[in-house]
């Protein structure tokens, strides 16, 4: 009997674990180590953050789902990996620390034959003074990155609405909280949901809404922007984004590295090297992401974290990490199999794998401060990669150690993204977009780097309906209800 251990039960890890359990059957064991008792459909946290959904609607208990799937669920967080075992045993293992009520802090070594690291991001609030610390979110801003954060964000948002109703003008500042952030899409959704809710509450004219982000142009989204076919033109996402911001009367600051947050004020540095300040009454700033800080040890107990993980804490996989400057980048730098180059039974998927380099062109201010988005790994690629990795491992377990690995390069894969711009069954809107491929390939698609036949975007109610249906569809799939395997990632 082989044992597959999956670290992290989020979008990528849950996909990998549930497919592996289905394909392996009861002859082999799948273990999931994840610290939360609940699964969270993170994209809908945006709606929790404006009071349009409850925490209960975007989360569910993992234990019964894993029991049904025959998955051994350990509510714990992984702390370290011993990929060579220890001196007395060659068997590799992970060291985990329980978070389960009643067993908190209990440590266990879990041996594995194959390991998937799908631990997602560490929300690195501590990287910006005042945004938070090593323990999480600070006191001056809000976040929608977890369901609990989103509940808190909504509480603060409702207070602002009350103040506006009493005649007090409010300033909203939404965007990224550091020069090296990703996930601009989530902030984009939140700012337009805020705007939509303020309109619904009848207080839009009492609000000044501003975007602040590390993108060098509006609509970069960490993917270097995209060109979409529209009215016979290939139109840049910059035009679409600027158009929407103008239409909804939302001002913007771009190319900004937020370097300090105080009560009611952020300090920032711009790409031209100038410094600025912006006041706010309500601010949601996405933190930069890092790896979750897993350590790795060799057989003799030596620290081999640098061998297994990149300096940002994400796990090294089959990517080209020595591509160098932007001019040398190629689509082939991006990983295909997500296998760790040193330990062939170890894989990383979703946000947990170390990308070879950003997708957007790196930029820095004259002071040397890097200010440009790091690469996003959104839900669809995270799910597809998780499934491909599970497929590879299952083949190796069932067909033999030399079974070929499955490939899922972000340079050959598209993504469908639906960015909510306001919730409402008849007055909601969302920007429905596809991008193909996620990582531009300027050799294959000269000029824009993407296939404009498969890269499109439009805003409207239809997008909102799709976003709402996807919410139910993905929760249905994650709960492993009838037909779940038919729902694509």
């Amino acid at each position: 009997m082989a044992r597959l251990v999956v670290l992290g039960g989020g979008v990528s890890g849950h996909t990998a674990a549930t497919f592996a359990a289905k394909w392996l059957g009861s002859a082999h064991e799948v273990v999931v180590v994840t610290p939360n008792s609940k699964w969270n459909w993170i994209p809908s946290n945006i709606w929790v953050g404006v009071g349009e959904m409850s925490k209960e609607e975007v989360t569910f208990d993992l234990a019964p789902v894993y029991a049904k799937a025959g998955i051994n669920y350990k509510q714990a967080k992984a702390v370290s990996i011993n990929p060579e075992g220890v001196e007395s045993s060659d068997k590799p293992f992970v060291t985990i620390e329980y978070t389960l009520a009643g067993r908190e802090g209990e440590v266990e070594n879990v041996e594995y034959d194959y390991l998937i690291n799908a631990t997602g991001p560490k929300l690195n609030f501590g990287a910006t003074e005042g945004l938070g610390d090593a323990n999480g979110l600070g006191e001056f801003t809000v976040s929608v990155c977890t369901a609990d954060h989103a509940v808190h964000a909504n509480e603060e948002f409702q207070k602002c609405i009350q103040k506006m109703k009493q005649g007090e003008r409010q300033k909203f500042l939404i965007g990224t909280g550091h020069g090296m952030c990703t996930c601009q899409g989530a902030a984009f959704e939140y700012i337009f949901n805020i705007e939509h809710e303020l309109k619904k509450a009848g207080v839009r004219d009492m609000a000044d809404i501003k975007w602040i982000s590390n993108e060098s142009f509006l609509g970069d989204f960490g993917v270097g922007g995209l060109h979409m076919k529209s009215m016979g033109f290939a139109v840049s996402s910059k035009i679409f984004a600027e158009s929407l911001f103008t239409e909804r009367d939302v001002d913007w600051i771009i190319g900004a590295h937020v370097n300090k947050v105080e009560k009611g004020k952020v300090h920032y540095e711009l790409l031209d090297g100038s410094m600025g300040e912006e006041e706010f009454d309500f601010s949601m700033l996405i933190p930069p992401f890092a790896g979750v800080g897993l350590k790795a040890y060799g057989k003799d107990g030596s620290d081999i974290t640098d061998t297994v993980f990149a300096p940002n804490g994400f796990m090294k996989v089959d990517a080209n990490y020595s591509a160098g400057s932007y001019e040398n980048w190629s689509a082939s730098d991006w990983p295909k199999t997500y296998q760790n180059p040193t330990y062939s039974n170890m894989f990383a998927c979703g946000i947990a794998f170390a990308p070879p380099h950003p997708i957007s062109k790196p930029m820095s201010s004259p002071n040397g401060t890097p200010i440009s988005p790091t690469p996003p790994r959104t839900g669809m690629p995270s799910g597809i990669i998780g499934k491909a990795v599970a497929h590879s491992i299952c083949d190796r377990i069932l067909k033999g150690e030399n079974a070929p690995l499955h490939e899922a390069s972000m340079a050959h894969m598209g993504a469908a993204c639906v960015a909510s711009a306001g919730k409402g069954i008849f007055d909601g809107t969302a920007a429905a977009m596809t991008i193909y491929p996620v990582v531009p390939d300027f050799e294959k698609y000269p000029g824009t780097g993407r296939d404009t036949d498969y890269t499109f975007g439009e805003i409207g109610l239809a997008g909102h309906w799709i976003k709402h249906i996807l919410h139910h569809l993905f929760i249905w799939k994650a709960k492993l209800k009838a037909g779940w395997t038919m729902i694509p990632e």
């Binding site: 911001f245 103008t246 239409e247 009367d249 993504a415 439009e458 997008g463 309906w465 799709i466 694509p488």
Partner: protein, 54 residues
């Protein structure tokens, strides 16, 4: 009466060079019949990209 989107443009400000939708384009965004058609079209387009990516 709701003000036109173009009224939000600040002359020679950072949004001076963008395009803004007119009333008809904005109306279409929440027009149920048109959006039902777009719903079908977008779903087909997305399914094609999803198929190409798996």
């Amino acid at each position: 009466m709701e003000k036109k989107a173009e009224h939000n443009i600040k002359a020679y400000g950072k949004n001076f060079t963008t395009m803004t939708p007119g009333k008809f384009a904005i109306k279409l965004r929440t027009c149920k019949i048109w959006q039902f058609i777009r719903f079908i079209v977008i779903n087909i387009k997305m399914l094609i990209v999803v198929r190409k990516s798996h």
